[in-house]
Amino acid sequence: MLDAPKKPLVRVENLKMHFPIFRGVLKRQVGAVKAVDGISFDVFEGETLGLVGESGCGKSTVGRCVLRLYEVTGGSITIDGTDIATLSGADLRAKRPEMQMIFQDPQASLNPRMTVGSIISEPLDEHEHMTRDEKRAKVGELMDAVGLARRFADRYPHEFSGGQRQRIGIARALALNPKFIVCDEPIAALDVSIQAQVVNLLEDLQEKFGLTYLFISHDLSMVRHLATRVAVMYLGRLVELGDAETLYMAPRHPYTQALLSAVPNPDPAQAGHIERIILEGDVPSPANPPPGCTFSTRCPRAQAVCKQDSPAWREIGEGHFAACHFIE
């Protein structure tokens, strides 16, 4: 796994996304939600990077920023050699086909007034010059690829089941032959029985088309199964990133440890090692994060220094990064 020289397809550096808060009669800006506050990571070609964290920690925001669905506040996002953080207009649109997204809620992510066929073929109109028949053929291929009957092309999204809808979402994401796909909790809204089907589909497609995934989820077991490497997020920042196996076996950051302690370990031999750590208190508001280490309000190992100094994002082992004052 470590032999081939790894080439980052996506490089995120010091990414920041602050949402302004408007208040009062005149709706003036009074502050900002620091949904993402300075994070850096790479996604290597062909891999699946898992992004985990509690609800509200900013995972989706990261995913959307990386695809430039937001105007980012700061930092750079380099995809395939181009920094897209500052691109706009036609340049950005030209870059879009390379990167796509699969959303959590397949219903909400499909325009209710468009048929499945036009949802899938719409990006083709924009980016490819195809005849109608070519388009129809392409739509058919895509529907085959995701396991949908071609005759459904004239139906509207609401006429499908959740699993089918997510397949439509995947088909349309694939339409422009992207290299990189952000999957934002693509299975969270589905029945457990269908989750496996969709995950398998994603894996098959990755193999078939050589896709690179940023896989966002709070289902830690699923991430372990799917991801090559895993990044853990807390309150707008990354706290630990490492090889999936290493991270799950030996989490270093107190937050990762707490998070993983709640997951039933598939390896009974290891089961005894990790005690369940229960975190006290609530997650602070991203509009007003605590000074120093953002985890310091809940960290069982917190010291005085944690409340003042923000821990640096350091490499603590081969390809293993973390942000904590007390990790060697």
Binding site: F22, L26, K27, R64, L67, L69, L92, R93, A94, K95, R96, P97, M99, Q100, M101, F103, Q104, D105, A108, S109, L110, N111, P112, R113, E122, P123, E126, H127, Y156, H158, G169, R172, A173, L176
Partner: protein, 342 residues
């Protein structure tokens, strides 16, 4: 959809009959008297005679049935006669719904007023919608920008400042303060007899419509732009909009094809539901500018206890409201594939 429409239409018939009866009942119970507005110099015996001649001595149910017959049978037959020259039954002496006040057929009075009401109130609705939609769209797209703030302010003014204030204000500015020979001077009194035959008379018509239309359009635009904005905001934050952006569509396409089309669904319904009000006229604005449309007709009817007139007008409004409710439902079904009535 067709079945649904037909079913609904069938259901409206008893509904409307009931409505017409209730209207009649309310009018009958109102402590009002068609001779009440006559000068005091008219002696009571004469008043009694007048009441008799108006048929007010008959029992209530009889007068209602008479109205039903006149309205549902005689009036349509008369229309056939007027439009196609078909004569069914005794078309010379057919008793039509007759106004107490003018002693002329109510339907003719209504027809006479339709043009100015449609011109002024209808135009103000169209203008209002045309102003409201872009304002709503831009306000939502640039939420909290100065444009949005300004739009909110205008909407607030439109909502809260009554038309009798804006109307008189405009008259004071455009008819009183601006000298009559200036090209910006606008007439404060609407000339219903003006016929548009050539360019100058068209200009004249535009000038006399300008103030009432603007006053009402502001009011209408205030409502509709808020709806448009809210609906746009609802949709702008939806995932499918992100999908559209992720597809690499032009921002214009995202906005106009994806967001706007979906946002229009509720707005179109609201617009359709508002159309009966156009026919209802704008009582106050019509009064201020002396447009003398349906609104003014209704108010005169009420003031003079002109029961047949008020009954017929109110009933026609009820019909329009019921119909446009149906239209709104059907439109909703047509626009939103998620809705199926059958």
């Amino acid at each position: 959809m067709l079945n649904f429409t037909l079913r609904r239409l069938m259901f409206t018939i008893p509904t409307l009959l009931l409505i017409s009866f209730i209207i009649f009942l309310i009018l009958d119970l109102a402590p009002n008297d068609p001779t009440g507005n006559l000068p005091l110099t008219i002696p009571p015996e004469v008043r009694a005679q007048i009441r008799t001649s108006l048929g007010l001595d008959e029992p209530m149910y009889w007068r209602y049935l008479l109205w039903c017959k006149q309205f549902f049978i005689n009036e349509p037959l008369n229309l056939l006669n007027q439009w196609f020259g078909w004569c069914i039954g005794d078309c010379e002496n057919r008793l039509r719904v007759t106004s107490f006040l003018t002693r002329s057929p109510v339907v003719d009075l209504i027809a006479e007023r339709m043009p100015q009401t449609l011109w002024v109130v209808g135009m103000s609705y169209v203008v209002g919608v045309l102003i409201a939609l872009p304002i709503g769209v831009i306000s939502a797209y640039k939420q909290y920008s100065w444009f949005d703030q300004f739009g909110t302010l205008i909407a607030m003014i439109g909502f809260s400042v009554p038309t009798f204030f804006t109307g008189v204000l405009m008259i004071v500015i455009f008819s009183v303060m601006i000298p009559q020979d200036s090209m910006f001077w606008l007439p404060s009194i609407y000339d219903t007899t003006l016929k548009v035959v050539d360019w100058p008379s068209f200009v004249q018509q535009m000038r006399q419509m300008a103030m009432p239309v603007m006053v009402l359009a502001l009011f209408n635009a205030a409502h509709i732009s808020r709806f448009m904005r809210a609906s746009m905001l609802d949709n702008l934050s939806q995932d499918y909009v992100r999908t559209a952006r992720a597809k690499g569509l032009k921002e214009k396409t995202v906005l106009l094809v994806h967001v706007l089309r979906n946002s229009m669904i509720p707005v179109v319904t609201v617009i359709a539901l508002g159309i009966p009000q156009v026919f209802g006229g704008a009582i106050i604005t019509e009064q201020i500018f002396k447009v003398n449309g349906l609104g003014q007709l209704l108010i005169i009817g009420i003031q003079n206890s002109d029961i047949p007139l008020v009954q017929t007008l109110t009933f026609l409004f009820a019909v329009l409201i019921v119909i446009f409710n149906l239209v709104a439902d059907v439109l909703y079904g047509l626009l939103d594939p998620r809705i199926r009535y059958d």
